[in-house]
Subunit: 340 residues, 4 copies
């Protein structure tokens, strides 16, 4: 096979991916490598130095070798895929060197330092929180265009907020229970009981019953669009690879009929290139390996509740392809470039 | 291989399984064939006449051939695995001939004829509803011992009621949302879009969003143990074979702490041979191909709600092995005979 | 979501896909819809008239509705995804109207009419066989450029021939056993025992033990590159969606060492854009949803045999993306256009 | 739930399982715990001291806690599930203390010390090899009855030898290629790239291409029944949990017709309680979680070869349930006790 050539224009922004051995970082690198505009400047990782990304992920066909993390390496922007804490430090270094940075961890997502510390411990670069823009594209498009630091959302908050924002904006949420299901890739490239096919197969199980870290992120963002209460968020692992479905059970603030409900969602997402408001309940298979989120809301007449479903790929729209969507915005590119 | 011999005592009750080509009927037949007490008298079906059950289900190793449905064939008891409507007619015929009958369909589950007709249409033998006992063993054990007709519960109501009954009895339920997930065997031996591996794989999707037929069954039974309100029940299909998890989100009638909650469940199920109250959230894998139901309840401090989970195998405790558990009770046998 | 627009230049060839409800036709339509050069003129099918392709395959996002099969509809080229027999008739009609045609069925693959009739019965348009070029791109590239009719290869022959051609050309094959494994999508959009997740899951099983129809296709093509003997080809279904691995056990005509073997394969595929000669044994996951084929050959010192493995996606390089690769060739486009 | 009670007669042999945290040891312990005759004396392991087996494997419902490995603990017999090398030392200690021992590792399988050392390195207790009986029940039944040490076969040799022994005894094998496929449980309770659902899913891949350790075991045993040549054995991993299929491609020493072939297999296994000679090709699903092996042999007319297939559950008949079958034999019990 002839050596593949990266597709990019001379002078295109050079983007570095830090922490590219994990599922999220590797996918971000792959999307950049095949992106028609950006240049993938380097992939770095704290292990696997000298190993090509395509040895770990052959299907991604990225022939760059992992390099030691060390500075900006001439890049204009960086995507950071480290665990929280480590991520903030890397984000800070890149920012200090003048790069525009998208952080895939939780470190730049929360506006409230107090909330952060409660869930994650000390924040190594808390002064940057004011600079960071929350990277749920559909909610923060204008601010993202100029962002220096983007806190890319968690996969659960992405699905949940896309499902609930139209209701929140109409002040229709009195209370909400969110039941989320996700595939095994959500546990990351971790080798343990949760990910072994012989233990994870034929298994659906709840986890983080005492409270999931994505809860405050959901609440903080919902408050911005009109719902200031608490949410119950419960996560489950299911035996598939990539895919996430959230089922949101909303007690509405007033009676609502089905037609109005449909109209609210249709209107909310009429111009969104990656949101599909579907006529029936959405499944994860229909969004696998895409940046699309499929949403359906229905009135449960028997109880008067509203159920809002959202399905997406936890690694794509839930993480890495949304990061590229944001990068497109930040550099004035068509929002779907490299993603369609 | 030498021909296998069925294990049973002379004079043991002879049990017929009607509608044994489906998943539920076939499993019931298999459990009876290997049961140390009962004799499997015959397997009948409206198709596959002359074909041995083990040709359709080799793993079950039941060498009886399917016979045309035609009367009692000398049996003492019958398990009926037909679709609703057809099932009531078969149940009626067997009952008229003096057999004790367990119906795996919905036809004998609901006490209210009006409710039945609303969800399923006309009832061909509605006068039998008064005779029928609801076959959730843990809730109706005394009545089951003498039952002539048992309406074996749906798999979703089994899990849901086992999860919620302890709270209902304490009048702790003010409101409840039930999010249920089930494997593909829940769709039965149907060959269509829902069951094709290439369409069902990598998919989690809600179904029956406008209302699931198991809702009235859950409400009718919950009313008997102390909760008379409506429930929101939402089902989902997930890419596994056998397994079902329900996650019940309960708004309690009063504040409750975690210790009290644990005590309620421990006490409720202390003597139950097939209920395991677990220390952490239960998974479906841990109950696969067993008659066990694993239950866990937790206080969600952040919202004050109670979450009750129940995991079981939809074909076993959710259907066929629970039928055998009931049959054991009806004939004064140890409740776990043939199931451990 | 705004209505998607198909990407194509004015004046670009218009391509019709006939039989687009099946897995192969639908994927071909999807690849054409997103192809930067060709225009997808229409999708036809004998069922589902008026239904959009994206209703059956939401992930493909092709908003064209299925039309009744009826002539060329102004297209310049056609891909035909009908079953054999029906396919030849459709190919003939398109050819008569002056279209260039790629047939995904077996009807245009075999040069020998006698062999065809032995395996498939009467051939409705046998006079076209002389016109047809066998569409294994890597073996017939020059002829494909000018082809009016292409017999696109079966998925098994594609993998097998790519694995064995380098050895055949060196006259190194004295005898060969081919053990092939494939995912459930290989059974097509058929709803039956083979494809039900609850029956196909946890199952690996051989099929077509008396002889697989792909055998003569493999033998006819191997003869062209230097091996004129018979082959034993045995197929198996395995519980995954898309993916195919062939393991070819070759008795060589002479002793060969590992270095020579590696050199033969490296040389054979040095300039091939979609063939990867790998350092270790290839897996199907690494080629999923790509047009790539990964190949590895090793000397089994203990017996002196050569083992040649090839992994590809049965729906992509095994069927539909190879058809697009051929279409690119036929219209003088870069071979990988729309496939990278 | 009431505490379960182990079912056994007073005075029944007490059996210890050493290395019971792995898949094979844990299953052996489960089968013993529910066995109507034997008493499970203890489960030991080098980790997880004090943890109950049912915490690691809830479905097995064995409430014994893992103990430190330390002597016989009053047991009459032991099953050893350690890795090779360590296993021989434990077998030796138990044997020295007078126990009858079944070793699940490779340490007691090979008669030739030279062969062992070539594949596994130094043997810590090679003097025991003369004492050991190879535990493929169907081949060594008489010797197993009196065995003090049993070398329980590997899962691949079990399937392969059961498929080939009837042909070998008739001196019908001139040459053989064995293509084996196995589920992920074959990789054991190892947490790595091979077992992560997101890497193992959608993957079929060969491994151990340079030669699998089970090759000499197959050759040594085949020589005892009539084929003294070399074999080519190639293993593959497939995305299921438990299950193994071997496809054996035999060049026969003489022409043979299909009827004779069928007769040979029917005769060979007519009295075997756990071997099913099937009319069509066998699948792994049909033997899942059973001690059965399903076998089918067919003549491939086109090439004159014989193909023999065998399907079994790698953890059951391939390992742990076969060990119980042997234990039954060793203690004069019905061979299928606790396994039907």
């Amino acid at each position: 096979m002839p050596e593949p050539a990266q597709l990019h224009e001379p002078g295109a922004p050079r983007v570095l991916v830090a922490g590219a051995t994990g599922f999220a970082g590797a996918l971000a690198a792959q999307l950049l490598w095949h992106h028609p505009y950006f240049e993938l400047a380097a992939v770095t990782a704290r292990s696997h130095g000298g190993v090509e990304l395509q040895e770990l992920y052959p299907r991604y066909r990225v022939p760059l070798a992992f390099e030691e993390p060390a500075g900006a390496r001439g890049a204009d922007a960086a995507l950071v895929g480290y665990p929280h804490g480590a991520s903030a430090r890397a984000v800070g270094e890149f920012y200090d060197e003048g790069l525009r940075v998208i952080d895939l961890s939780a470190d730049m997502r929360l506006a409230s330092l107090e909330t952060y510390e409660q869930w994650y411990g000390e924040h190594p670069r808390s002064e940057l929180l004011d600079e960071a823009v929350y990277g749920l594209t559909e909610l923060h498009r204008p601010a993202l265009a100029d962002a220096r630091i983007v806190g890319n959302p968690g996969c659960y908050p992405t699905a949940t907020l896309l499902a609930l924002a139209p209701l929140a904006r109409e002040e229709l949420i009195a209370d909400v229970v969110i039941d989320a299901k996700q595939g095994i890739s959500g546990a990351g490239r971790s080798f343990d009981e949760r990910t072994h096919l012989s233990l994870a197969g034929e298994n659906i199980a709840p986890y983080a019953v005492t409270g999931h870290r994505h809860t405050p992120e959901i609440e903080e963002q919902l408050a911005l669009v009109g719902y200031e209460g608490r949410v119950l968020f419960q996560a489950h692992l299911a035996p598939l690879d990539q895919g996430e479905l959230v089922s949101c059970y909303v007690t509405p603030t007033r009676e609502i009929d089905g037609d109005e409900l449909t109209a609210i969602y249709k209107r909310a997402y009429a111009d969104e290139p990656f949101i599909e408001v579907t006529a029936g309940p959405p499944g994860t298979r229909d969004v696998r390996e895409t940046n699309f989120c499929r949403i359906h809301a229905a009135l449960h007449r028997h109880t008067g509740r509203v159920i809002a479903f959202a399905a997406l790929d936890n690694l794509w729209k839930g993480t890495s392809s949304q990061a590229i969507q944001n990068l497109n915005l930040m550099y004035g590119r068509p929002e779907g470039e490299g993603l369609l």
